[in-house]
């Protein structure tokens, strides 16, 4: 661990306050909708009120006569604007069905919120007012909101595909053929569970916003968007619109949260670009919240069937999983890949023999498309294995922690080659769990529970745990190739020492709340021996940072941060040649520390990096073959995913008369390897845990049988407020990743991956004495109360 162990005056590992904060705290930060663009036209989109309908006719003449209206377009009017349908970058199988999907519907609408007509007007209010004057005649068709009904193909949504099934993807690995069936046949204990991963609405606090600004001459265009992925958006917009890529610049200004929902290429981005070119004027669009709940992707949406086989001691012998994935009406950027990101994790953190049988069938429904939402496939997988482990422990009548201890991959087994062939880089699950148990005072809680949860007790105590792996740091490009993903997983960085020795770091990551500017400056400062305040971090503008694959999947530090360290190494290597030239010694005789090169054994013979930067700039006296300027670009393609892990524990008290769940304590012990900035790491865990806890207790995108979303705004969809969530106890173990020079792993999704199953295990633990051993999320008062009544009535 080159920079992590023997360091002095280290910047890495300090709780440095964020440089992003002053602008955000004073209102100076500019989000996309804050940009002042003179002469911009405003786009508004008329959306389908039907889940599934044929468009019979569209009359826009009244809308065209409305004040301020400049133009009105139907899907057919704009059909020729698209060189290709909207992109899906992840064709997971060769025969995957992918319906053509255009920014405005052509003949049919397939979910409530599907775009039908675009209005351009001189102001936002005029554009929205005109929507009411458009007359669309629809022929309503059968809505499909039930995944199993969708699979029956009784009503087919995309007729040209002939089926509602998009794909089936299998991962069956057996040491010998039939090993899984054999294991279940011989199992001393087995469980077969069915879980529902309800649809969630990501609800980043900033709704999406877009401004496309054409340049007066030459056809260049700048697209500002509230996106996580300016680089991917640039490539995809160029392809979809048939615009030369070099004429397109994409900028993500301050972005108000994403959680995966801004990891996409959206209709409104393409519409703004297409219409700004057509009209030779800037076009802007801002999403209302009630629009956001329908027109921005949803997350989760799976039916999970999981079976565990175990021997007489509870050692797992096989895992079998059958998933149905809800794609929604169309495939967005990585929709079909989300279940695959979890496919490798249904054995959790356990030492499973090579006996694993996973299959996912994904299906179209007449609901908003799903896509990656914080954790993307991995919270779902962790939930299934961890809730099923508790079910197995109940069946065996042993403590769920004891069952886990019998199954953990042991510290000395790392690096561990799993049944899947993937290598888990490093870990110590028992240490994390023990630390969490200490914070929980597990034995004392169990003791209290025994006295509290007696027959007739109104308030029942429950404790639940989860041990998780977060397969993240997306991703080794070759592994992505084997999964048919349409791009690589590398990240790029450029490090530039300016003539006055200030440093510019250019990164391909694109932050939206994670504090990259602070953390990346810390990495470069540590490597180069300069002050962090002398490092500027440039990002999120494809003209400034042309190479990048953006921010998602807990990848930014583990891939992008490591790229910065690599670029710093290249800068140092180059500077070393110049220093050797100046000091008249061999390059290998120099050591570099605290920003100064010195001759080993003769510390007086030294030259600071600042002097070398200036020498590289003047180029008056450089060694032969060395180019002027001190700058290097490095692209990091990780050798492996990174495998953060941890153990979470939740203690709840449930009022059996109201069904209300009170979270008394939540403990998160996480291990993300070396931490660059613990302040930021803790913040990521807090936020992640609350998103997972919110899935367990509060949130659900509810559709009626006609396919209408019933939770269309923040009054109906329960994003928790401060009073709905507990303080969170965070603690850490530190197991460096051996696969990168910083020893880092990533932490953005960890909290979410661990939390939902932890809370639900606590809830079921509290209620199992009443006969409630299964409860679908969210564990709302209503659902909990009904489950208690059903269990009690059944007795």
């Amino acid at each position: 661990m080159s920079i992590t162990q023997e360091r002095t005056n280290s910047i890495i590992g300090t709780r440095m306050l964020r440089r992003e904060d002053p602008a955000l705290l004073t209102g100076e930060a500019k989000f996309t909708n804050d940009l002042v663009i003179p002469g911009a036209l405003h786009l508004a989109v008329l959306r389908s009120p039907y889940a599934h309908a044929r468009i019979k006719s569209i009359n826009v003449s009244d809308a065209l006569a409305m004040p301020g209206v400049v133009a009105v377009y139907t899907g057919k009017d704009l059909r020729d604007a698209w060189a290709a349908p909207m992109p899906c970058a992840w064709p997971v199988t060769p025969d995957m069905k992918n319906p053509a999907h255009f920014p405005l519907a052509l003949d049919k609408v397939c979910y409530v919120g599907d775009g039908v007509v675009a209005v351009l007007a001189n102001s936002e209010t005029e554009s929205r007012d005109a929507l009411d004057a458009i007359d669309v005649a629809y022929e309503p068709l059968q809505a499909i909101t039930d995944l199993e009904v969708a699979l029956s193909d009784k009503t087919i949504i995309h007729e040209d595909l002939g089926t509602n099934k998009s794909y089936t993807w299998n991962l069956k690995v057996e040491a010998t053929e039939g090993a899984v069936d054999e294991a279940f046949k011989n199992a001393a204990f087995s469980v077969s569970e069915r879980y529902i991963q309800q649809r969630l609405i990501p609800m980043a606090m900033e709704p999406r916003a877009v401004v496309a600004v054409p340049q007066p001459f030459g056809g260049d265009i700048t697209l500002y968007s509230a996106t996580q992925v300016p680089h991917i958006l640039k490539v995809m917009t160029a392809i979809t619109l048939g615009i030369p890529e070099h004429q397109l610049r994409v900028v993500a200004p301050s972005v108000g949260g994403g959680f995966g929902s801004k990891l996409d290429v959206y209709a409104e981005e393409l519409l703004c670009v297409a219409l700004s070119r057509k009209h030779g004027a800037p076009v802007r669009w801002v999403e209302e919240r009630s629009e956001n709940t329908q027109a921005t992707i949803h997350g989760r949406g799976q039916i999970q069937n999981i079976e565990l086989a175990a021997d007489k001691d509870g050692k797992l012998t096989a895992v079998r999983v059958r998933l149905i994935g809800d794609m929604g009406a169309y495939l967005q950027l990585v929709t079909p890949g989300v279940p695959l990101l979890g496919a490798f994790l249904y054995a959790g953190v356990y030492d499973l023999p090579v006996a694993y049988d996973f299959s996912c069938t994904s299906v179209f429904t007449t609901m908003t498309p799903t896509d990656a939402y914080r954790g993307a496939g991995r919270p779902e997988a962790t939930y299934a294995i961890e809730v099923a482990m508790d079910a197995l422990a109940r069946k065996m009548n042993i403590d769920p922690y004891e069952l886990r201890k019998r199954n953990y991959i042991k510290k000395e087994q790392f690096p561990y080659t799993a049944f899947s062939g993937l290598t888990y880089d490093s870990g110590d699950h028992l240490a994390a769990a023990e630390k969490a148990m200490g914070h929980a005072d597990y034995a004392a809680v169990r003791k209290k529970q025994a006295t509290q949860n007696v027959a007739g007790a109104r308030k029942r105590l429950g404790i639940g745990m989860t041990s998780y792996f977060e397969m993240c740091g997306l991703a080794p490009s070759r592994v992505l190739a084997s999964l048919n993903y349409g791009a690589g997983g590398w990240e790029s960085a450029t490090v530039r020492v300016l003539p006055t020795s200030k440093v510019q770091v250019v990164t391909g990551t694109s932050p939206h709340g994670q504090g990259h500017e602070t953390s990346w400056a810390m990495i470069a400062a540590e490597k180069l021996g300069v002050a962090p305040e002398d490092v500027d971090v440039l990002h999120s503008d494809t003209a400034i940072a042309p190479l990048g694959l953006d921010t998602y999947g807990s990848r930014s530090l583990a891939v992008g941060g490591v790229a910065i360290a690599g670029a710093c190494d290249k800068v140092i290597d180059k500077a070393r040649l110049i220093a050797a030239h100046q000091l008249e010694c061999a390059a290998e005789d120099l050591e570099f520390a605290q920003g100064t090169f010195s001759v080993k054994g003769s510390p007086d013979k030294a030259v600071p990096l600042a002097a070398i930067a200036f020498a590289a700039f003047t180029a008056h006296n450089l060694p032969d073959g060395v180019e002027p300027n001190l700058e290097a670009q490095y692209t990091h393609d990780p050798k492996n995913f990174s495998w953060p892990f941890g153990a979470h524990i939740c203690i709840v008290e449930i009022d059996t008369e109201t069904g209300k769940v009170d979270v008394l304590k939540y403990i998160a012990v996480d291990d993300c390897g070396i931490q660059i900035n613990p302040l930021i790491v803790e913040g990521q865990v807090h936020g992640g845990v609350v998103q997972g806890l919110a899935q367990a207790l509060y949130e659900e995108a509810v559709y009626d049988t006609d396919g209408n979303l019933k939770t269309t705004n923040l009054a109906e969809y329960l994003v928790p407020a401060a009073c709905d969530v507990p303080p969170i106890t965070t603690d850490f173990t530190v197991t460096p990743s051996p696969t990168n020079q910083l020893g880092v792993k990533g932490v953005g999704e960890a909290g979410t991956i661990g939390a939902a199953s932890t809370v639900m295990n606590a809830v079921i633990d509290a209620l199992s004495g009443l006969g409630v051993t299964k409860l679908d999320m969210p564990a709302s008062p209503n659902n909990v109360w009904k489950a208690i009544q059903a269990a009690q009535g059944g007795k």
Partner: protein, 151 residues
């Protein structure tokens, strides 16, 4: 119609449509974009400002209702280039991540301490019930407000 509102100490007068919400007035007429819009149901609190000294969601008030009043927005908190103690407390305690809810959260938190200068953890959580944050899990927001209260 014409409305006259003092914003961050500066008297302003603008013609607006009667239906104009105060938040749109602040953003579009007064050109102060620090006040954000996060919903359309008065649920999220991102647009919280102070009207005549009290925290208020500026999407629940018509600009016309604020006529003759005094509004403070997030841009009006810092004095002589020094952030307000609440802004500093948010920075020092990592009480923000993406920063979109932050202006409203800070304005609501100042309003809370005006009414209850020494709140408990629970009182802070209840007092901020009308402001949603999706990034922080509220842990460090509560910590920030308590830190500001104890200064």
């Amino acid at each position: 119609m014409k409305v006259s509102i003092t914003i961050n100490g500066s008297a302003q007068s603008h013609d607006v449509e009667p239906r104009t919400l105060l938040v749109h007035y602040i953003r579009d007429q007064a050109k102060l974009t620090g006040t954000n819009i996060g919903c359309d149901t008065s649920s999220c609190g991102a647009c919280t400002v102070h009207l005549d000294g009290e925290a208020a969601k500026s999407c629940t008030i018509l600009a016309a209702q604020a006529d003759g009043g005094a509004v403070t927005t997030i841009e009006g908190l810092a004095t002589n280039g020094e952030m307000h103690p609440m802004q500093k407390a948010f920075m020092e305690n990592h009480g923000l991540q993406c920063g979109y809810c932050t202006p409203g959260m800070v304005m609501a938190a100042i309003g809370l301490l005006n009414e209850n200068p020494k709140p408990t953890d629970e009182e802070v959580r209840l007092g901020l019930e009308g402001n949603l944050c999706r990034c922080t899990g509220y842990h460090n927001i509560v910590k920030s407000v308590l830190a500001a209260a104890n200064k």
